[in-house]
């Protein structure tokens, strides 16, 4: 078996895995695996296809499968045999045809590029540099513009369809990721995966209900013409339209983060829902996918059959597809305006069946005649083929790739599935969207109801940042991911040693996304450099020595910006049990608003302009506004 070490990052990850093995943990687990479950057999780093999206060519002869793990588009024929592998950029997430289908655009998230594939030659004709973490792409009808949703810069870039030159950017929702064109391509609908910032901070922290939107773009004018408000929704994914354009549906995640996360047994964590919009329903209507003891965890892909009879939704964590009767759904929506997201009896009115598919099902595509629905199962490299008349899987297409399940792969499967939680309600990825964070604050049970409201933190590159939790209560990942998660989140004890170990290995090896504020050569811009000097200073502007514990660089020391110790920085709230807080790492800190332990600071600026009146969170009140801006510019490079 050949080990496929694809990059320095992965090699480091691999090395880390083996170090862990030497320490005994992984080795122990491996033995258990082989002896017991046969789940994880290899500690190698293998390249899986990890299909996430699919598109049929207009004539139905070719299926383009976007493989996120292998950084390629695979072209299959109508018999699902692979006829070409087209390498694209790193970690692609979205793809779309031009109006004439002569081009296929692929958004590559980690190298900030757009691959332009010639669909006749089946090769990349151009690679255009775009903005930060391009995730979704769509083209207009006239062939004038290409639109790219940028997850990190929270906008939609408008590109010249001929040259790829960026013409402008349109403000979208936070974490803009998925673009869907209306059937006539006149308008584009953009969703986003992190909640929009709340308008106001509160004394109790960032406890406003999450808000999201569908950003509506006029494709001809390339301007935002509307924003469809999604109340109480934090994370939006794919949108589908009926062919007549009268019904739009967005798959979304509705967190219940304003109540203590202690009632999983009463479906107390999330509602997995759809929002319907368009002429068929009038004003937006939110409907649940969940039912009692069956939860459609993390709805992602959605498609409406050409005859508008059925609607299909994939659920990443639940690992099934929900089939919905559209006329009954519309009828229900008309009778129940607003939201019935929390009504576990509602879905019985319109859900036809649940169809089990593979692990982490993502994008969907109908065959041109609508008789089959294809589902891309990201974490087992398969495509489920569903007969839309019987709503049964009639075939599972296995994509070429490793057959062995590595430790990392199994850990990732564990991270994304909901099968370990009580009644399969949630998984790790519910709060760590795409293995990142969720932009929300939560009230977790172990600290007491209404106590210790906590902001969710980024998972990337967390080796060397322990202990975990804001109170530093969990010394290591096995504790964090194991007993704590099982008791307080899952309300179950489902992990065996192997599974927990694999999960820990996966989380430990989540790589660091490229920092978009840092220069390619590692140098700092003048403002960033000035900010670095402020970060490292030991005297204030009056020449007075700053106490060691009150310097930025003391608590936020080391390569990851944490001393791994707890301090009182004066940000405690009356709801906190302790004034001592773990020092958070600064990795990609520019992305992870809100800030402070309870998310009370909406922006980096507010950490000091609002929540540091006594200079306990570093000596900053001697700084001018210019200098504070410089400090923040530097922090964003961390």
């Amino acid at each position: 078996m050949t080990s496929l070490l694809r990059s320095q990052t992965v090699r480091v990850a691999a090395a880390g895995t083996f170090v862990l093995s030497v320490l005994g943990l992984a080795v122990c687990s491996m033995r258990k695996v082989q002896a017991a479950t046969q789940k994880a057999r290899s500690g190698e780093i293998l390249t899986y296809a990890s299909p996430v999206e699919m598109l049929y060519s207009p004539d139905g002869t070719r299926l383009f499968v976007l493989c996120q793990g292998s950084d390629e588009v695979r072209v299959l024929n109508s018999g699902f045999q692979m006829i070409r592998r087209i390498p694209v950029g790193h970690i692609p997430r979205g793809l779309a045809f031009s109006a004439d289908a002569r081009r296929l655009y692929v958004a590559n998230t980690w190298d900030d590029t757009l691959s332009v594939i010639d669909t006749r030659l089946l090769k990349v004709a151009h690679t255009w540099t775009v903005a930060a973490e391009p995730s979704g792409v769509a083209a207009d009808r006239a062939g004038k513009y290409v639109f790219v949703a940028n997850r990190i810069s929270n906008d939609v870039a408008v590109l010249d369809a001929t040259s790829g030159a960026e013409l402008k950017r349109l403000a979208a929702g936070r974490g803009a990721s998925y673009i869907t064109a209306s059937p006539d391509r006149a308008r584009l609908y953009v969703t986003h995966v992190y909640p929009n910032p709340p308008r106001e901070s509160t004394v109790e922290g960032n406890r406003a209900a999450p808000q999201a939107e569908i950003t509506v773009v006029d494709a001809a004018q390339a301007t935002v013409v509307d924003r469809i408000r999604l109340a109480d929704v934090a994370h939006g994914f794919h949108i589908a339209f009926s062919r007549d354009g009268k019904l739009g549906v967005v798959a979304q995640l509705h967190p219940k983060n304003l109540v203590p996360l202690a009632h999983l047994e009463h479906s107390g964590a999330f509602a997995d829902t759809l929002t319907l919009f368009g002429a068929d329903v009038g004003r937006t209507v939110e409907v649940p996918l969940d039912e009692l003891e069956r939860y459609a965890v993390r709805p992602f892909g959605v498609a409406i059959s050409p005859d508008k009879a059925h609607l299909y939704v994939t659920s990443e964590g639940a690992e099934f597809v929900t089939a919905i009767d559209v006329p009954r759904l519309v009828q229900y929506a008309r009778r129940h305006p607003g939201s019935t997201a929390r009504d576990l009896g509602a879905s019985a009115n319109y859900v036809v069946t649940r169809i089990a598919v593979g692990r982490d099902p993502r994008g969907v595509a109908f065959t041109p005649d609508g008789s089959r629905l294809l589902v891309a199962n990201r974490l087992d490299d398969t495509i489920s083929v569903i007969d839309t008349h019987t709503n049964r899987v009639v075939r599972t297409v296995v994509l070429e790739g490793p057959k062995v399940i590595t430790v990392l792969r199994h850990g990732e499967q564990t991270f994304y599935t909901a099968r370990y939680s009580f009644q399969g309600q949630i998984g790790c990825a519910n709060c760590h969207i795409d293995s990142t964070f969720d932009g929300l604050t939560w009230d977790l049970e172990p600290d007491g109801f209404g106590r210790d409201i906590v902001d969710n933190r980024l998972l990337e590159d967390i080796r060397g940042t322990e202990p975990f939790k804001w109170n530093g209560g969990n010394p290591n990942l096995p504790t964090e991911c194991g007993p704590r998660t099982e008791k307080y989140f899952w309300r179950s004890e489902n992990y065996d040693d192997l599974t927990l170990t694999d999960l820990v290995v996966y989380v430990r090896h989540l790589p660091l996304r490229p920092n978009r504020w840092r220069q390619a050569d590692g140098s700092l811009m003048p403002a960033q450099d000035r900010g670095k000097q402020l970060f490292n200073r030991s005297t204030d502007k009056f020449g007075i020595a700053i106490a060691e514990g009150n310097r930025c660089s003391y608590c936020h020391s080391g390569p990851k910006g944490t001393s791994q110790r707890s301090f009182d920085v004066g940000t405690g709230k009356r709801t906190d049990n302790s004034g001592l807080l773990d020092t958070p790492q600064l990795i990609n800190v520019g992305l992870t608003a809100p800030y402070l332990h309870d998310g009370s600071a909406k922006t980096l600026e507010e950490i000091w302009t609002v929540f540091n009146p006594e200079d306990k969170h570093g000596r900053t009140n001697d700084l001018t506004k210019d200098e504070l801006n410089d400090l923040i510019e530097y922090l964003r490079t961390r």
Partner: protein, 374 residues
């Protein structure tokens, strides 16, 4: 009808002049003046004003700023941001996320259609109905009192009570400009006009500041005599240090001050005072240039238009409030043009152009000047 009669009389007089080759010098001069006046009247635009107040949908009568956005018109008032579309007013307030109820300045990002509103407590972006607000606490904005805003390319330039700043929309980076890094003696920045080549700042008490987009260099234009009450060196530099507004078009910069106005073509200055121009008052809140020769001025005593030769003033009469329009020609002759409408108030704070029409922000309402051709 009265205006039509007056115009007809003037045009008839002009025709007579051309028909009388043997007239005496005085008569010729008189007729020449009449012709000049007639030409002046014909040259300047004539408007029928429709005024909006709280009585017909405006949220407040104090209108600080106005912005034309295609068929829509935005009005920054003391009690919210109002938008007029399809014959109706809609008002955005702090409940919608607006930074503050008093909206002092407005700018349109023509590429995206987003509107930027400078308020008494921060800067707001209105985009597709969503309002995002930037303050000195939650962002790098230098100060919450935003007197002016201007969008050019990917940059939003902001004039505040504590210096100027620039928001780079691509990087989200704020750059601050003040006494520490520019030749700005005072940091009370009242206005900004950004163009691809130059960015000009109207600084209250510190003259006119120029930023060159290519070189990144700053330049400063001051009142050469340094006198606050007198003009000793007219046409030798900026008319006064208290600059309230600036407009840069066709490589010409126009500056409004509380003590007269200036035009600068890169070599020569020309200053405008009430005593030697048609400006109704030296106290000027606002200037908007149309091109190298034409500009609108908002003063405390009415709205003025200069076409490079003639001046026109539109206002309620200072004596009795009756609608009034006067035209001052190149010879200084002032002709009264009979009108039946006038802007809502003499205290003019802003103006924008919608085709041939104008929209005027005043202290007691917003006025729509509908261009007519009598």
């Amino acid at each position: 009808m009265k205006k039509l009669c007056a115009i007809a009389t003037l045009v008839a007089a002009a025709s007579l002049m051309y028909a009388a080759p043997a007239a005496k010098h005085a008569a010729v001069a008189a007729k020449a003046n009449t012709v000049s006046a007639a030409r002046g009247v014909v040259a300047v635009p004539y408007f029928r004003f429709e005024n909006f107040t709280t009585a017909n949908g405006l949220p407040d009568n104090h209108v600080f700023s106005v912005l034309v956005d295609g068929d829509r018109v935005w009005a920054g008032t003391e009690d919210g941001l109002a938008v007029y579309e399809g014959g109706r007013w809609k008002t955005y307030t702090t409940l919608d996320g607006l930074a503050h109820r008093a909206v002092l300045s407005l700018a349109l990002d023509k590429r995206t259609g987003d509107v930027w509103a400078g308020t008494m407590a921060g800067l707001s972006r209105i985009s597709g109905g969503r309002i995002d607000t930037y303050t000195q606490l939650n962002s790098g904005l230098s100060n919450d009192v935003v007197y002016g805003v201007s969008v050019e390319g990917e940059n939003v330039w902001v004039a505040t009570a504590a210096g100027a700043c620039r928001l780079d929309l691509r990087t989200a980076q704020w750059s601050l400009y003040n006494e520490r890094n520019t030749p700005m003696n005072e940091i009370w920045v009242y206005g900004v006009n950004a163009t691809p080549t130059k960015v000009y700042f109207a600084v209250w008490g510190s003259g006119l500041l120029e930023y060159d987009q290519k070189t990144g260099r700053w330049d400063k234009y001051d009142d050469p005599d340094g006198e606050t009450e007198m003009v000793l060196f007219k046409d030798q530099g900026l008319i006064h240090e208290i600059v309230t507004s600036v407009s840069y078009v066709d490589n010409i910069v126009w500056a409004a001050t509380y003590f007269g106005d200036s035009r600068y073509d890169g070599r020569y200055w020309h200053n405008f005072l009430t005593k030697d121009s048609g400006l109704p008052s030296n106290f000027t809140n606002f200037v908007k240039a149309l091109d190298a020769n034409r500009a609108w001025f908002g003063t405390d005593k009415g709205l003025a238009y200069f076409d490079g030769v003639n001046w026109a003033v539109y206002r309620p009469s200072l004596k009795d409030g009756a609608p009034e329009m006067t035209v001052r020609d190149a010879q200084g002759k002032v002709t009264s043009v009979p009108v039946t409408t006038a802007p809502a108030h003499n205290y003019v704070l802003g103006l924008d152009v919608q085709g041939d029409d104008i929209w005027v922000a005043t202290a007691k309402g917003l006025s729509h000047g509908i261009r007519e051709h009598p």
